[in-house]
């Protein structure tokens, strides 16, 4: 484990004492130097060879100096400190080159979590939010999201999150056999006291790179989540993950609409079953066509397509009069077994046609150039 040599910059004397003692008492960290004034730190800090800078940004002056710190200490990571979470300030400092953002006062555990989380890639304010909508439900959407998250993490080697916002009947916890201590309900309840680091712990780990924020345990808890708190949650989660996949319930409701509006891409998922699936897909597309950037942002996926080939994809695209972004084959028994056993992360054979279709979709998503923030 690397030894962190910390340069602490904090205006407030009492806070400085408090944070100093946390740094000193945390295994793997030593307090190399501390300064009240940022300009003193910039001028003299170098002689202490810090590799981690904890910079208070509760003043505008310090926010403006973040870029200067990054330039002066290229071998060190800069973590900004603030009394409370501020998405705008977080975005500003990350663009200026800071690795992350920590709410003060923090504990040793939070400090450690912060360097571990932000260490490699820094805060991912360039995250892509992908929202998955199905007109009537029973679309294979949860299966798709679960497997796509794993595939995206594998391909991008970055952190991926699933948010189960199907508030009444979300199934993600069952798919991964999780008994979550915290769910979306607790996350939105606590959101005003959280920072990205503490929010991260509300997501249950599935693999090293994939985490899930589970849905409610009982349908009546759904009322605790409204579109405003949901969006606050999402904007904070954006600083933790490269990709965020949101599972929303069927039909349009305030939270699903908010999740779609906040997304970088919306996937409409429909399962072919001999019913009126293409009619529902068209009806849904008609709603999204109000968006001027609908064609770029809204994509369609059909599941249980048999035979699952290019001709089928073309035929579907013609029937809905809109491009089809992906088709998945029918693998009912494979999926049902994996879900029944809560082994979605392990039981889907990567060589199966379903896994290969999802893999192709993941490649397309990874190839998408993200918009420049």
């Amino acid at each position: 484990m690397p030894e962190y040599r910390v340069l602490l910059v904090e205006q407030n004397r009492i806070m400085m004492e408090r944070l100093s003692s946390v740094v000193r008492n945390t295994k793997g960290f030593q307090l190399a130097s501390r300064e009240k004034e940022p300009r003193d730190a910039l001028g003299q800090g170098g002689v202490f060879l810090p590799n981690l800078i904890l910079l208070d940004i509760d003043t505008q002056e310090n926010i403006d100096l973040v870029r200067e710190f990054v330039r002066t200490f290229p071998q060190a990571g800069v973590l900004c400190l603030s009394g409370q979470w501020n998405a705008e300030a977080a975005s500003t400092v990350v663009k200026a080159g800071a690795k992350g953002y920590l709410i003060k006062p923090f504990t040793g555990e939070e400090l450690l979590a912060a360097v571990n989380t932000f260490g490699e890639s820094g805060m991912g304010l360039l995250s892509d939010v992908l929202t998955f909508f199905s007109p009537k439900g029973k679309s294979g959407k949860t299966t798709l999201i679960a497997n796509l998250a794993l595939a995206l993490a594998e391909k991008s080697q970055q952190n991926v999150a699933i948010i189960d916002a199907d508030l009444q009947f979300g199934d993600m916890a069952v798919f991964f056999n999780l008994d979550p201590q915290s769910t979306i309900v607790e996350a939105v309840r606590d959101i005003h006291f959280l920072s990205p680091i503490t929010l991260n712990s509300y997501f249950m780990p599935i693999t090293d790179r994939v985490r899930v924020l589970c849905g409610t345990k009982r349908p009546e808890f759904a009322e605790a989540v409204n579109s405003r708190t949901f969006i606050e949650l999402l904007s904070m989660a954006r600083s933790l993950f490269r990709y965020i996949l949101i599972d929303i319930p069927p039909a349009f409701n305030p939270v699903s609409v908010a999740a779609a509006e906040a997304a970088d891409a919306v996937y409409i998922v429909s399962m072919l079953g001999g019913g009126f699936e293409t009619a529902h897909m068209q009806r849904t597309l008609d709603v999204f066509k109000i968006w001027p950037d609908c064609e770029q942002k809204v994509r369609t996926i059909f599941t249980r397509v048999e035979p699952c080939d290019e001709a089928a994809e073309k035929k579907l695209a013609a029937s809905i009069g809109y491009p089809v972004a992906g088709i998945l084959p029918n693998e009912y028994l494979l999926v049902a077994n994996a879900a029944n056993n809560g082994r979605m992360a392990a039981d889907i054979n990567p060589a199966s046609p379903l896994a290969r279709s999802i893999d192709r979709l993941a490649s397309r998503i990874c190839a998408d150039r993200h918009k420049v923030v």
């Binding site: 009444q168 009947f169 798919f175 039909a251 879900a339 029944n340």
Partner: protein, 272 residues
């Protein structure tokens, strides 16, 4: 015999998972009841993605959205029969209150208006059947409140569905619905699955009130033709089972237990 005014039976068809056959059940119950001489209205309360008119190949001129507009304009002059679409396929006729045509309309139908429409339908029909969505929405809770019976449709496909049935049932019990008001109907019972029906009943702590066999081909054919199974003269096991279920809901007719409609329509009218 003097006509005694009585309020009709309201049956909500509900589920906690999508695509379990709610609409199929609703239109077939409607058709079978109509065949037995009852006055029936099927109301499509899947406002955003309703399929009742798709199933029956109806092209409604008026929908529940128009009914709402009329009621808000002049409640006293509102006549609900002007807002139904009549299905008159192969014999028995029944009324349908269609879901809104446009999504925008669907999002602007209020629970209050729906309950007002239902209260107008109730005296006019022996049975009002409500096809719903798989959610505890404000609308669904309101209509379940004043339903006579809730037909809770489930399928046994995989664990998440069963989990949702269980928490759905627990929720309904916790908000005070009597056990007797909730009737579990299992659809597609013999489809490919690794889950035993008895295990589900044990989990729910309730037996299934009725079990419908799986007949995907017959159901698909019925969808394509736009004719409910119970009147399509194909005589499938599924249609017999649907008739049997309706027999249970109309105990007036269930004497011989064969599920055969033994009494003709005019006799039913007499005993109403």
């Amino acid at each position: 015999m003097e006509e005694v005014s009585r309020s009709g039976i309201i049956i909500t068809v509900f589920s906690t998972a999508s695509a379990v056959g709610k609409t199929l059940l609703s239109v077939n119950m409607g058709a079978e009841l109509a065949k037995n001489g009852y006055r029936v209205c099927v109301v499509d309360l899947d406002l955003q993605y309703g399929d009742v008119c798709h199933h029956l190949q109806l092209e409604p001129q008026k929908t529940i959205f128009d009914a709402q507009a009329a009621i808000e304009k002049d409640a006293a002059a509102f006549a609900v029969e002007d807002y139904v679409t009549v299905y008159e396929g192969e014999g028995p006729e029944f009324a349908v209150v269609a879901a809104p045509l446009k999504m925008e309309e669907a999002c602007n139908v209020s629970t209050l208006a729906v309950t007002a429409v239902l209260s107008r339908l109730r005296p006019l029909y022996d049975y009002v059947i409500l096809d719903t969505t798989a959610a505890f929405s404000e609308l669904n809770l309101a209509v379940m409140d004043f339903s006579t019976i809730i037909t809770f449709v489930g399928i046994v496909d995989f664990i998440p569905t069963i989990k949702n049935m269980k928490i759905g049932y627990d929720t309904m019990r916790s908000i005070g619905y009597e056990k007797n008001k909730i009737r579990f109907v299992l659809n597609r019972s013999n489809s490919k699955t690794h889950i035993e029906l008895q295990d589900v009943e044990q989990l729910l702590e309730e037996p299934f009130y009725h079990v419908l066999p799986n007949d995907f081909a017959a159901a698909s054919r019925s969808l394509r033709c736009g004719v409910p199974l119970v009147i399509d003269n194909e005589g499938t096991r599924l249609s017999a089972s649907l008739q049997e279920l309706v027999g249970k809901y109309t105990n007036r007719l269930s004497g011989d237990g064969s599920g055969q409609p033994g009494v003709t329509s005019w006799v039913k009218r007499l005993f109403k």
